[in-house]
């Protein structure tokens, strides 16, 4: 598989603060990657470094297998960082023409890309008159002008209203379905869960996990149970070999599985032991719970 970006032992220090610590990962063509981490975990700094706007302290990175310089590579990349930055006094069309000049691509794709993000009717309005959602969509259109090999989005839905968030996500999904590699930095878990196939989890500049989103969910899940005879239920569960820790909260008993078990098997077992359930749910941990587990465990 073709590697688009390789990052090796990257470190960035701002004075005493280490924003990115010995970070390594690689991005393969065709996947949708998420960089996940709480605010201040080094996501934007990492992207800033590979996009050549932040100087690294140590380590290195290479685009497209290191065959071309970063400067040339960036012309094959589309990226939006944090906030959409355009010349406020210029119209959408004028701004995009400028980007075409910078990226050295022909200007004939401007209308097509504006159409894709739904801004064609407003193409002759000044950038300063746009709403935040429109600005963000214009930024996506601009990042797509060179039909990039990889699209880098840093918190693309930050500060948008639900409708705006939905529009951006639809656009991202549309782009992903066309086979463009996407690298999406976000602190919103459901966003990453909904869009990404791979995830890199950062915390305080350190990598906690990288790999497929579904492989991250390695646990066997857990049962949520309720019964009239709580004490008997807890005793039964704590003696059972398949269960790990058992939590009790407001009469809801959570039993975490240590091995695979079907809900029907458990129900049958309990009934045979004279315990009648009033509530039985088997669940897998959501990405959010996984994420919180990962980020809390390493304290």
């Amino acid at each position: 598989m073709e590697t688009i970006l390789t990052v090796n032992h990257l470190t960035k220090k701002f004075g005493y603060l280490t924003a990115v610590k010995d970070l390594s990962f690689s991005i393969e063509k065709g996947n949708v990657y998420g960089i996940l981490g709480p605010n201040g975990s080094g996501k934007s700094t990492t992207l800033g470094i590979v996009l050549n706007v932040v100087n690294r302290t140590a380590g290195d990175f290479s685009w497209f297998g290191g065959t071309i310089t970063t400067h040339t590579a960036l012309k094959k990349v589309g990226a939006i960082i944090e906030r959409p930055n355009f010349y406020p006094y210029m119209t959408a069309i004028q701004n995009l023409k400028l980007v075409c000049k910078i990226k050295e691509v022909p200007q004939d794709k401007i209308e097509e890309k504006l159409e894709m993000v739904g801004l064609l009717e407003r193409k002759n309005s000044k950038f300063s008159t746009y709403s935040l959602g429109m600005k963000q969509r214009l930024a996506i259109a601009s990042a797509l002008l060179n039909d990039p090999e990889i699209l880098i989005l840093d918190e693309p839905t930050n500060g948008l209203d639900p409708q705006g968030i939905h529009q951006i996500r639809e656009i991202i999904k549309k782009i992903a379905s066309q086979g463009t590699t996407i690298l999406l930095a976000s602190h919103l878990l459901d966003e990453v869960e909904k869009v990404c196939s791979h995830v890199i989890i950062l915390r305080k500049g350190e990598k906690l996990y990288s790999g497929r989103v579904d492989e991250m969910l390695t646990s066997y899940g857990f049962f949520e149970l309720r019964a009239n005879d709580e004490a008997a239920l807890v005793t039964f569960l704590s003696k059972h070999a398949s269960f790990g820790p058992i939590k009790q909260e407001n009469g809801l008993i959570t039993a975490i599985l240590k091995e695979e078990m079907k809900a029907t098997t458990l129900n049958e077992d309990l009934f045979n032991n004279g315990i009648v359930l009033s509530h039985l749910v088997k669940r897998k941990e959501s990405l959010e719970e996984q994420f919180l587990n990962l980020t809390n465990n390493k304290d």
């Binding site: 701002f14 996009l51 706007v53 400067h71 960082i81 930055n85 400028l98 000049k101």
Partner: protein
């Protein structure tokens, strides 16, 4: 190279404020021609500026480049804001992400400044030539095209000054503060350094050091032409005094300003390279 110029042109020309300032700058240069129209007609005193010989070749080259270079401060606003706005709009960051290298970014700004200096020089040349052809007492080709080094000095002066403005724009990142800094720097050169050296090492040393300071070396390129004006000279002679001033453009003066230009552009680049955006 053309691409870099086009990029900068799009940025400047679509900005109404810059567009108006650029146009007014050239209109103001054109207004020098209006000097010719100044006529006093108060009874016995009749005075027509154009007939006083100020538009004589080759003196006109000196006079007009000197007047026009006074207008450069006006253009400094455009230069400083074209740099500082990239910071305040955060478009500098976006430009770099879009694939402009830091070197290209500085190059596009410098090329623009270079182009404006060339255009301004050509403009002053044309305006002066036309004015001269109308009013000069001498119109022999050899006289018309003598003393053209004032135009070279004018060009070097603009380039140096605009490079300084570019550097200030990058250094300070805010156009208003950068312009303020320019004024403060002028005060530093002319008050602080001049009198500090004077106090420490005497008048000659002070005058010597001043030659090497950026703003002072730029202003030295074209000396004030008024005292060279015949009417003024004859007036002074009547009082029994004489001017012994060196009006020529010296090579070492051009060299000093050239060095400053290189230093400012290099510092701008170094600063941009070092900074995290």
């Amino acid at each position: 190279m053309l691409r870099l110029l086009q990029i900068e042109f799009i940025k400047l020309w679509n900005n109404n404020a810059s567009k108006i300032l650029i146009i007014s700058y050239f209109v103001l240069i054109l207004c020098m021609a209006l000097l010719a129209a100044i006529k006093f007609d108060i009874g016995p005193i009749q005075f027509h500026v154009a007939e006083q010989g100020i538009f004589n070749f080759p003196y006109i080259w000196h006079l007009n480049t000197w007047i026009a270079s006074g207008l450069k401060l006006f253009f400094a606003i455009v230069i400083v804001s074209m740099m500082a706005n990239e910071y305040s709009n955060k478009t500098l960051k976006q430009n770099l992400i879009d694939g402009l290298s830091k070197k290209e970014f500085i190059a596009s700004k410098f090329l623009t400044v270079f182009a404006f200096s060339v255009i301004s020089t050509l403009f002053v040349f044309t305006v002066s030539l036309v004015l001269g052809l109308f009013y000069s007492d001498f119109t022999e080709i050899s006289i018309i095209f003598s003393d053209l080094e004032y135009l070279l000095a004018y060009f070097i002066k603009l380039l140096g000054f605009f490079s300084f403005c570019l550097f200030l724009g990058i250094l300070v990142k805010r156009s208003a503060f950068a312009l303020g800094f320019l004024i403060i720097w002028f005060a530093i050169e002319n008050l602080a350094i001049r009198f500090l050296v004077w106090w420490l090492a005497g008048k000659e040393a002070s005058a010597y050091v001043m030659k090497f300071l950026p703003l002072e070396s730029m202003s030295n390129l074209i000396k004030e032409p008024a005292s060279r004006f015949k009417a003024v000279q004859s007036m002074v002679e009547q009082v029994g005094e004489q001017f012994n001033k060196d009006y020529a453009v010296h090579f070492y003066e051009i060299l000093i300003v050239g060095c400053w230009t290189a230093i400012f552009i290099y510092l701008s680049y170094a600063l941009l390279k070092k900074r995290d955006l």
